[in-house]
């Protein structure tokens, strides 16, 4: 018989070992997976993508911007660019670097896969908003164009990703860039967010944390070189101008706008009624379809019927049926504000 203390220690060591191997973010398996990422092919494809983004946004690309974007040293970036030239995917000249037709098509294939995957994660899974881009960055290098087409067919050939970026068609077509950055909106004007740039991640996660998403209605309060202050769905948000540059908007006409703070379904107390204005764009995929199937569409009258013992979920009377919804769902259903 082994001494119980010794076996206890051995037991704890085994458990710690498994935790160390399988820990979701910092475990050995997760690290191994991450370290495999930076292969040669990934560098080439990421650089192409960056070059294409420059072209699309009308910016000049340099060796340094490539190095910065792909997070490699300038020396390595020079090697990658040389390799790209050998493959006849790019041309470098005095003004900078530009893509060849082939290079552009290659970049568009990668971008298509990337955006399709983000759309898939947003609509068909519960993967968190902050993880879409990171996951797509990995998967884009592993899926063949045929697999991407199958995925597109499966999720209904979407044309926009969840950040509001257009998804290139299978033939590599992409619409012209639309809208302006948020900073250009004048005080008192109304606009709708059409796109939130997902790179760099540090800025994107800040924008997500501020609750911004494509489809939101904004009204500018104050735009100066120090700060941008605006109402987003009636809530006040303040951003640094550098951050606001990653938000793209299109102006909207005044008559369709709603003034004041949005009222959500969760604000009803038992016995109160309200009329649906719409479902927030943050509510996606299955969850959104389910709510619409239940009849949660603009114009539907909803009454808060009763609270469960813990206060969450609450049962609502929707088109003659009692449906219990959780608070985080009711938060995403907006009601017409009658005041």
């Amino acid at each position: 018989m082994v001494d119980p203390l010794t076996s206890l220690i051995i037991g704890f060591i085994i458990i710690l070992f498994f935790i160390w191997v399988y820990l979701p973010r910092n475990g050995l398996l997760a690290r191994l997976k991450r370290s495999k990422k930076n292969t040669h092919r990934v560098l080439i494809e990421d650089s192409l993508k960056h070059l294409y983004n420059c072209e699309y946004n009308g910016i000049n690309c340099t060796l340094n911007s490539v190095a910065g974007n792909v997070s490699i040293s300038a020396d390595e970036a020079a090697k990658v660019v040389k390799k790209l030239e050998e493959l006849e995917l790019i041309l470098s000249h005095e003004k900078g670097i530009s893509l060849t037709t082939e290079g552009r098509a290659y970049a568009l294939r990668i971008i298509r896969t990337h955006r399709l995957w983000e759309k898939y994660l947003a609509d068909e899974t519960s993967v968190g908003e902050e993880d879409w881009h990171i996951a797509a960055e990995e998967i884009e290098h592993r899926i063949t164009p045929a697999q991407a087409d199958a995925l597109a067919a499966q999720i209904g050939n979407p044309v926009f990703d969840p950040h509001g970026d257009p998804i290139p068609s299978a033939k590599g077509e992409l619409p012209l860039k639309k809208g302006n950055v948020l900073n250009t909106l004048k005080e008192g004007e109304f606009a709708r967010i059409i796109h939130i740039e997902d790179e760099p991640n540090a800025i994107y996660s800040q924008l997500v944390a501020a609750g911004l998403y494509p489809g939101m209605q904004v009204r500018m309060i104050e735009s100066s070189k120090d700060r941008i202050k605006f109402l987003a769905n009636g809530e006040e948000v303040v951003l640094a101008p550098l951050f606001a540059k990653n938000v793209t908007i299109i102006p909207i006409k005044n008559e369709t706008t709603v003034k004041g703070k949005f009222k959500s379904l969760s604000s009803l107390s038992v016995g109160e009624k309200g009329i649906v204005l719409g479902i927030s764009k943050r509510c996606r995929g299955q969850q959104r379809r389910r709510l619409m199937d239940l009849g949660v569409v603009p114009g539907t009258e909803i009454e808060a019927e009763m609270k469960s013992i813990g206060g969450d979920p609450v049962a609502y009377r929707i088109r003659g049926a009692s449906i219990a919804l959780r608070k985080n769902q009711a938060d995403k259903i907006y009601l017409i504000n009658e005041e």
Partner: protein, 478 residues
Amino acid sequence: MNRTNGHNNEAILSLANNLRWEIGENFHDKLMESIYANATTIAHKSVTTPIEKPTFSFDRALDRIVTSPVLGFPMMFLILAVIFWLTIEGANVPSAMLASLLIDTFHPILKDFSFTIGLPWWLGGVLIDGAYLAGAWVISVMLPPMAIFFPLFTLLEDFGYLPRVAFNMDNLYRKAGAHGKQALTMAMGFGCNAAGVVAARVIDSPRERIIAIITNNFSLCNGRWPTQILIATIFIGGAVPAHLAGLVSAGAVVGIAVLGIVFSLVVSWALSRTVLKGEASAFSLELPPYRPPRVLRTLYTSLIDRTLIVLWRAVIFAIPAGIVIWLVSNITVGGESVAEIFINWVDPVTLIIGLNGVIILAYIIAIPANEIVIPTILMLTVLVTSITGVGSGDGVMFELDSVTATEDILMAGGWTLLTGINLMLFSLLHNPCSTTIYTIYRETKSVKWTVVSTLLPVVMGIAVCFFVTQIWRLVVGN
């Protein structure tokens, strides 16, 4: 003509694609909204609704009681307790009748018959002591409780009470990353895990449904209650003064069941945050109006859909297992039966987790149903310790009416209080029975989730028994 046609198709497709970029991504929503708007206008024109029906206000009054912070939970526990009491008490008589008919009467008759027609002893053993006995055992212990529990449960569901339970429990289950309806599948699991897994169909959100299926095994099923009660009476009741024995052993059984609920919540929480993090999830819970239950229909569907299907699956698995049980005890290699060789071989390892080789072998070969674990343990203990005068031969499962006689056999097998406690823990935390495993596969259609639901509890059981044993030995001594 054809050539230009092809050219036109291309142009139309590319135009369509460009237009989709123009109209934006919410045109599906717009389409649906306009359909609803149209339907509403038509309904307003042509449908008239009578002023509020009286049943509606009755519903509201009842709902106010059911969801009241003071009365809600006590009422729920009371109703569930009554159902379990009815099941356990009500099943005793028919179970005893079936056992005396199938095991005490038919089994000897079949044995005699096999001798008269001159069947070789081994064939009679395999068919009658193995296959028949296991099948008969499963029927007599499983059928009565399920035939009582499922109709009662379905009546509550039909009346509309169970959705309210899910409504009230959702707060807790949401925090564990699960669906309120998991409270219902869990309660169903106390009757039978296979039925609980099937019941997870009511959860329409994919992620929460898989969580409910994987964690259902943590509900102490009907087949495991008798094991818990027997072992608690012998070992835990025996360790305290006689006047406290009943109370303490009952408390221990309830404690194990509550531990199972705690495990199911903790595992749900862990699963929803790790492996199942990305699975799609969509919550909604309909609260149907109360209505008088349709008794006959309920009886029919719960007996056919739940009881008989589960029973049939259990019998199908029990028959081959019965054969294996008989064979391992009767095939001898070098003078020792296969069972003994295996038991002696694993004994040193199993002692580390505070169990013994007999228990491990019983859990392996009695996989079709938890109900036959104790009979198998008794048979194997007698086989290994060579006690004479109890049981009816190698490979023939048996159970004793007297608790003290059972205790004598287990003591002879070298059991201690620690073995008893570990068996109770292992009975809660081990792989689901083969009927449930098969049902999980049928329901999920996924080998991966079937393997996870099978191995996760057994790994947890081994770990828990291991730590309990080491700490016990450190604190109490051997």
